[in-house]
Amino acid sequence: MNFSELGQRFRKNIQTYIIIIALVAIWGVFAIITKGGYFMPQNISNLFRQMTVTGFLAVGMVLVMVTGGIDLSVGKLAGFVSVVAALFQRDVWFHLIPNQPVLAAILTVFVSMIVGTLFGMYQAYIIAYLRVPAFIVTLGGMFILNGGILLATGGQTIAANQPGFSYIAQGYLNPTIGWILGVAVVAILVFMMFASRRTKRKYGFELKPIYQDLLKTGFFSLLVLVYVGVVNKYNGVQVPVLLLALTAIIVSYVSTNTRFGRYAYAIGGNREAARLSGINIKKQLFLVFTLMGLLSGIGGVVLASYVGYGTIAAGQGYELDAIASCVLGGTSTLGGSGTIFGALVGALIMASLNTGLQMMNVAPAWQYVLRGLVLVVAVIVDVYFKKQSN
């Protein structure tokens, strides 16, 4: 591969690179300002833990936006679910199964997932089958859930800091298990690389030179190992981050390797062409918004466990963070394109700004201003580079 080819490749993947460059730049700036304090294992650990709730919402939001939709209710849905989870923890399981914290936590997770999914289905039905615009249905959903939160809490704060339940968002893996996991991931990456080369050869396609594949796999393997090394210096691999990673991998796989995912992108890319290709648009939209509900439910459990309480302000504004993460990560607001990976990096950028600005003791008002500016500037840069590559 010569340089012009390299340049071409770079331009083609500019969106992926830009956001990673932006992330590194933001980290760099904070590292300098905080004299390296930003890279303390404790801070890195908290940073990743902080992004998880938004992360779950962003993973679902990518698919929603890819179909050309939007979901404004996810923040409040996660909030509502967190309150429901807290209520179950404090009031229901405490009476039914008082001395089984682990079982109680597992049951709470199930209840939360069901609540999220059901509300997702309710909205999905109206959007897909009654053809009311998603913007309006979910705006309504936001109000409804806000009322739901007030009703469920009665205006009070509900404790959700029981031992088993707290583990979900505040637990850490034993460092040894963390290392085993890290090495396993690397092994899987290498195995996948060779498996993909084998099938490519079987079908007689041209193979990329092996050093390219090795470089790519090596890079990601290194990232995983460095990450495990750093967080192990604090408390170990964070349970919520692991859950988010698993979820992201599954949804990412589904989005590229199943009909469900392909259809979502096709619908967002050109709804009419998708319809005439025999795709059941209503069913697909129903599934996408239902999945969004499920992921909001999971986000809600993690939120309750993370905060340790169910409060009336739970989930406030999270929907906007999720949408911002997707946009930062290159998801088109018009539908048809976007990746889970990008959205997660976007969520990480938002979280990085948060922690960095907090460390610098910037007043909350200015934190909002700066986050808003970063979002808009990022999109301006993106638009500029897209023009260039055309």
Binding site: Y203, T258, R262, A266, G269, A273, L276, G336
Partner: protein, 507 residues
């Protein structure tokens, strides 16, 4: 300087990275004439027109253009300056705001403002004046989206004229028009000519040059091949200039032997799904194995509605029945049509046929994912292998299957749409205006492909607005008029006149 020359294009060269779009182009346009510009897709016509209308400003190309004897220097907000000087372009894709009235559209951006508010009475009276002067048959208060394509185009022309256009560039104005509308447009152009407006007329329909133009300039591969008086040309000669080789025939001879009847449509009626209006009022025909059945008819005669209804993606069939291999079938949607072996290449490939931002591969496999997919997995290697097979068979010209469909030329895009439907293994392939807006060479390839498919035993239903094409390609022709079938002609009896009489409902 010759007084009669309004545009003098001298040695214009325009290069893009990696490709020379215009290579030393020179020709002259006479004042007040209709000047045809002809060439295959990619010949450089559109690039040249973009230079004339200021899309590419003065410093982005080499060479000189003289307009009324003066050097044309369009810089800065060049599109605006071109309009000020009286050069206007009517694009293939119409540029009107659908929700606004004709008057609002014509005065968009130059509304007469008095004391801070728009004088709407003047807008509409001035609009009416322009419409009257050029005999344009639209009403100033009509909402644009309710108009047909033909009237939208008139609005677009009126808009250009309202800006005192001296040179009007029409880029494929007839590609979406019915025969009647084309005739009307020709009349309008004649009126413009009488008013001294110069027109540059671009089209893919060869016969239109002979109907309307005074001179024709032929372009090929970014160069001017020739400029000649139209009366000295024949269509054979023109095509020869365009493709640079002798084309013996426009329609390749097939070796088709239609077999037994496999599909019957018996007196079907259907309603528009949104408005509830009856659009099909008794259509009957049958289709034989390995046959090409042409469907002719004017715009609005229900051709597209008929095939979309058969495909299950339009209104409900209220009366009548369809039989496949003698067995009555019902089709609820596109998916069930495919299961019955019926595929549809839709009318508008960009709007209905392709997901433009997605790769060729994903476009081809989209309706066929079921065969590669289990519940949790798509076998992407098999998907690629199978798609590659069709891409090769149809000779889609592309560096790889991973480039987005929007990067292809019209003809190749159409091949992608055809590939995706061939992969579904149809017994009946419905093609709605399959060669619309693609160049002569690509058309020929599509025709050849249709012949091959029919020879393999696939039955084809082809809608076409091009009468010569219907006659050239079909075994039989069904003519539609006002939502019903108004007669089926054997090819031996089909003439343009007979088709038109049936289509207009005179007979």
């Amino acid at each position: 300087m010759d007084e009669n020359v309004i545009l003098d294009i001298q040695h214009v060269t325009k290069a893009f990275p990696g490709v020379i779009a215009l290579n030393d182009v020179s020709f002259q346009v006479q004042r007040g004439e209709i000047h045809g510009l002809c060439g295959e897709n990619g010949a450089g016509k559109s690039t040249l027109m973009k230079i004339l209308s200021g899309v590419y400003p003065h410093d982005t190309y080499e060479g000189d253009i003289f307009y009324n004897g003066e050097l044309l220097k369009l810089e800065g907000s060049a599109i605006h300056k071109a309009a000020e000087k009286g050069i206007a372009i009517v694009y293939q894709e119409l540029t009107l705001v659908p929700g606004m009235t004709v008057g609002e559209n014509i005065f968009l951006g130059k509304e007469p403002v008095e004391r801070g508010s728009i004088n709407w009475d003047r807008v509409y009276s001035d609009t009416q004046k322009i419409l009257n002067e050029y005999h344009l048959d639209v009403h100033p208060q009509d909402i644009v989206k309710n108009l047909g394509v033909g009237k939208m185009q008139m609005t677009e022309i009126a808009k250009a004229l309202s800006e005192n256009a001296k040179v009007l560039i029409l880029d494929e104005p007839t590609s979406a028009l019915s025969e009647a509308e084309v005739t009307q447009l020709m009349g309008i152009l004649q009126t413009l000519k009488e008013h001294g407006v110069t027109c540059i007329y671009i089209t893919h329909k060869i016969e239109e040059f002979f109907r309307i133009t005074d001179h024709v300039t032929v372009m090929r591969d970014g160069k001017v091949v020739t400029t000649q008086e139209t009366k000295n040309l024949t269509s054979e000669k023109l095509v020869q200039y365009m493709v640079g080789r002798e084309m013996k025939e426009r329609f390749p001879k097939g070796n088709r032997h239609p077999g037994d009847v496999i599909f019957e449509v018996d007196d079907i009626y259907a309603e528009d799904p949104d408005k509830g209006k009856e659009v099909l009022k008794g259509v009957s025909f049958n289709l034989r194995k390995g046959e090409i059945l042409g469907i002719a008819g004017l715009m609005g005669s229900g051709r597209t509605e008929l095939v979309m209804t058969i495909f299950g993606e339009y209104g409900k069939i209220t009366k009548g029945s369809m039989k496949l291999y003698g067995k009555e079938i019902t089709i609820e949607n596109g998916n069930s049509a495919m299961k019955h072996g019926i595929s549809l290449v839709p009318e508008d490939r960009k709007r209905h046929g392709l997901v433009l931002i997605q790769s060729i591969l994903k476009n081809i496999s989209l309706p066929n994912l079921d065969r590669f997919a289990s519940f949790m997995r798509i076998d992407q290697d098999a998907e690629l292998a199978e798609s590659l097979k069709f891409a090769k068979e149809l000779a889609i010209k592309t560096p790889s299957l991973f480039v987005p469909a929007e990067s292809l030329s019209g003809g190749n895009q159409q091949k992608v749409v055809i590939s995706k439907w061939l992969m579904s293994g149809p017994k009946i392939l419905i093609m709605d205006d399959p060669t619309r807006g693609i160049d002569v060479g690509a058309k020929y390839e599509i025709y050849k492909l249709m012949n091959e498919l029919a020879e393999q035993g696939i039955s084809i239903i082809m809608i076409s607005s091009d009468l010569q094409e219907v006659i050239g390609m079909s075994d039989r022709i069904m003519v539609m008029c006002h939502g019903s079938s108004n007669g089926i002609l054997e090819i031996a009896d089909a003439t343009q006149e007979r088709i038109m009489t049936l289509a207009t409902g005179i007979a």
